[in-house]
Symmetry: C2
Subunit: 113 residues, 2 copies
DNA sequence: CGGCTCCCCTAGAGTGTCTAGGGGACGGCA
DNA sequence: TGCCGTCCCCTAGACACTCTAGGGGAGCCG
């Protein structure tokens, strides 16, 4: 097994994707992959559980509909709570990456206390 | 449970810390916490398993010794393989964060292909 | 009709982190 | 001397998330 994604990041990415309006799962995955120039490959086995998780938590709302290709599809819409969650996760992500960056660029000299 | 750390990041941080020379576990945790201005709190329950994991994988080498405070301590030294691993994880981290950044700053318009 | 793409779903394995403990031993202070 | 705080090590079990590897159904096109 190889982790292609930092764990805990997927929710944030999906929520962000949905800020552009309702979308079905397949489209979310495609959009993410396209947007990151294939750097991120969201597996369906990760995406759908994530979508369901977020539905349960009230971050998104799901409705059956019909896709652009005239196919049965479930559209997910961001809720107010989802928006809040996104904001929170984003700032948390920011904090973390900055902290990691500090470490990566530091000079861990021989205990220069 | 709250994930304070992105999963998979800890190894990289510890490896980076050890580039400054051999260090014992407690010191690694302190250094990380200090370097990130308390943004990162490395729990012992995560650190020691990580250290052992990395020892098994040959990324670090462990030797008993005596600390600055005259206490029994296990010093970890970075191996050549550990150095390689660090390089790999760093670039992987770089790729991931850039991809996430792209998503976070994108405008997921209503399918503006 | 067959096959491709779209679109949905799940069980199970695997990995890693955290919680919540349990020590031992040195040093300083009463 | 005895106690306590800090330093330093360790582990089991719970938990969350991702991935692998499957299994569909349905529209569209040759």
């Amino acid at each position: 097994m190889q982790v292609d994604l930092l764990q805990g990041t997927l929710d944030m990415l999906v929520l962000k994707t949905l800020t552009g309006g309702p979308m079905h799962g397949y489209a979310v995955a495609s959009w993410l992959q396209r947007t990151t120039d294939d750097a991120l490959c969201v597996e369906e086995g990760s995406l759908y559980p994530a979508l369901h998780r977020m539905t349960r938590r009230g971050w998104v709302k799901a409705d059956w509909g019909v896709s652009e290709n005239n196919r049965r599809a479930k559209f997910y819409t961001l809720t107010a709570e989802g928006r809040r969650q996104l904001k929170e996760e984003s700032s948390s992500w920011e904090r973390l990456t900055q902290a990691v960056s500090k470490v990566l660029h530091a000079q861990p000299a021989t205990q220069g206390a």
